[in-house]
Amino acid sequence: MILYYISIFLIALLSMIVSGNNLSAAVGTVVGSRIVSRWFGLLLGAGGFSLGLIIEGRFLSDSIFRIMPDVPYYIVVVLFISFILFALATFFRVPLSLTMAIVGISIGISLRAGFSMDLSYVYFVISAWVLAPILSIFFSFYLNRKISSINVNNAWKAARIYKILLVIISFLTAFTLGANTFGLLASLGHDTLFTLGIMILSIFIGAIFLSGGVIKRVSQDIYGMRYANAFISLLVSSALVEAATFFSLPLSNTQTLTSSVFGSGLSYNTKAMISRPFFQVVAMWIISPLFGMLVGFLLV
C-alpha cells in the first residue's frame, strides 16, 4: 500500500513537470500570437490535457505492462528514475522525452528481471518512434507547400479563420498529449479515479506554476512562425499522436511537434533555419530510451 501511495506521489510530481513543460507546445502559438491571454492559454492547455486523459487515457492503460511486470516495486522504480532523469534534464536544459524514458526504463527493468515482454509490441513502439518524425516532416512539408500555393484574396478573413483554427488545434494538441503522455503515466497508477483526480489537480498546478518561463520562451522563439505554418505543425503533430493513442502506442508529443516544425522550416523557399538544435533533439530521442534502459537495468 505504501508503494502505491509513493507511486501516486511520483505520478503527481511528474504530471506537474510534464504539464508545465508541455503546455507551451500546445498553446504557445495562441499565447505568443496574442490570440488568447496567458491565463486563457493555461486553461485551454490544462483543460485539454485533463479531457484527453479522462476520455482517451484508457487506450494506454495496458501498454506499459506489456513491456514490464505489473509489480508495485518496479512501478515505483520506473517513476523514481523517470523523475530523477527528468529533473536532471530540466536542470541541464536537455530536451528529454518522458515517454521515451519511461519505455526505456521499463525495458531495462524487464531485461534485468527476466520478464517476458511482448516483443512484437516493443518493435511496434520503436517503429512508431522512427516513423513518426519522418511522417511529421513529410506531411508538414507537403501541407505547408500546398497551403502556401493557395491564392488568398481576403487577407483578414484568412487571418480570422486561422485564429479560430489555431485555438481549436491548440486544444486538440493538448487533448492528444493528455491522452497519450498522461495516459501512459496514469497506466502506472492503474487508471483509478483517485489517480486521475490527483493527476488532473497536478496538471493544473503544473500549468499554473511551472509553465511561465517555458511558455514565454517557446511562444516567442520556436513559434515565430506564420499562422498557417503554426497551424499545420500542430495539426500534423496532434494527428500522429492521436493515431498512436488509438493503437495504444506511447508517442512523444515533442517528437512529432519538433519534426513538424522542422518540416515547416524546410518548406520555406528561403531557408533561414538553424538545423543544429533539431539534430540535438534527434540525438536525445536515441539517447533517452537507451540511457533509461541502462539505468533501469542497473538500478533494479
Partner: protein
C-alpha cells in the same frame, strides 16, 4: 455561456485594427504637405502661422505614435509581427517629422535670405520642383491610406506597385534637381546649395517612407494570411 470578450478577441483581427488606427497619420501628412506646397509657392509670405500648424501636427503625430506603440506592445499584436508594426509606426512618424524639419528649414532659410538681400529667382525654380514632389507625396499618402483599408491581397500588391512607381518618379525629379544644382553651383552661395540639397533629399525620403510603409503593410497581410 459564450464569452463575448473571448469571441470578440478571436473575431477582431488585432493586426487589422492596428493598421486602421494608423490612418490618423494620414490627414496630418496631407495637411503638412499642403502647407509646405503653400510655403514653396510663396516663400516671401509670412510663414509663422503655417509653421506653427506644421509643428502642432508634428506634436499630434508624436502623441499618436506613443499611443500606437503602447497598443502594439501591450497585447494587440503577436511577437512575430511586433517588429513589423513598430517599424510601420516609426515610418509614419518619420513622414510627419520630415515635413516638420522642412518647415523649420524654410523658416531659417527665409530669414537668412532676407538678411542677405538674396534674390529668389534661382531658388524659386527648385521650389517649383519641390511642389511637384510634394504633390506626388500627397498622392502616395492617399494610396497608403487606401492600402491600410484593403483586405484584398492582389489590390494591396497593385497599390504597392503604384507607390513604387511614384517613388521612382520622385527619384528622377530629385536627380534632375541635383544635376541643375551642381550646374549653377558656381553662381549660388554655399548656404543656398546646402539648403536645396538638404530639402530635396528630405523630400525624397518622404516617398521612400511611403514605399517602405507599403512593403510593411503587404508583408503583414501576407504573413497573417498564409
Amino acid at each position: 455561456m459564450v464569452n463575448y470578450h473571448f469571441l470578440k478577441k478571436i473575431m477582431v483581427i488585432g493586426e487589422r485594427q492596428s493598421l486602421l488606427s494608423m490612418q490618423s497619420y494620414m490627414n496630418l501628412a496631407i495637411e503638412n504637405s499642403n502647407i509646405l506646397i503653400s510655403i514653396f509657392q510663396k516663400p516671401e509670405d509670412p510663414l509663422d502661422d503655417m509653421i506653427r500648424k506644421v509643428s502642432e501636427n508634428e506634436k499630434k503625430a508624436d502623441d499618436i505614435t506613443l499611443e500606437l506603440k503602447r497598443n502594439v506592445t501591450s497585447g494587440a499584436i503577436g511577437s512575430t509581427l511586433m517588429d513589423n508594426f513598430l517599424n510601420l509606426i516609426e515610418k509614419f512618424d518619420d513622414i510627419i517629422d520630415r515635413t516638420y524639419w522642412i518647415s523649420r528649414e524654410m523658416s531659417r532659410t527665409k530669414d537668412s535670405l532676407i538678411a542677405n538681400s538674396f534674390h529668389m529667382e534661382p531658388v524659386s525654380n527648385f521650389y517649383a520642383s519641390f511642389c511637384a514632389i510634394l504633390e506626388i507625396n500627397i498622392e502616395a499618402v492617399k494610396l497608403v491610406d487606401r492600402m491600410l483599408q484593403v483586405s484584398d491581397v492582389a489590390e494591396a500588391k497593385q497599390i504597392r506597385k503604384e507607390i513604387e512607381k511614384m517613388e521612382e518618379d520622385v527619384d528622377e525629379i530629385k536627380d534632375g534637381i541635383i544635376d541643375r544644382l551642381y550646374r549653377i553651383s558656381e553662381s549660388i552661395s554655399y548656404l543656398t546649395f546646402n539648403h536645396i540639397n538638404s530639402v530635396v533629399h528630405t523630400l525624397d525620403d518622404l516617398l521612400d517612407d511611403c514605399e517602405d510603409i507599403s512593403d510593411l503593410i503587404l508583408n503583414t497581410m501576407m504573413s497573417v494570411s498564409r
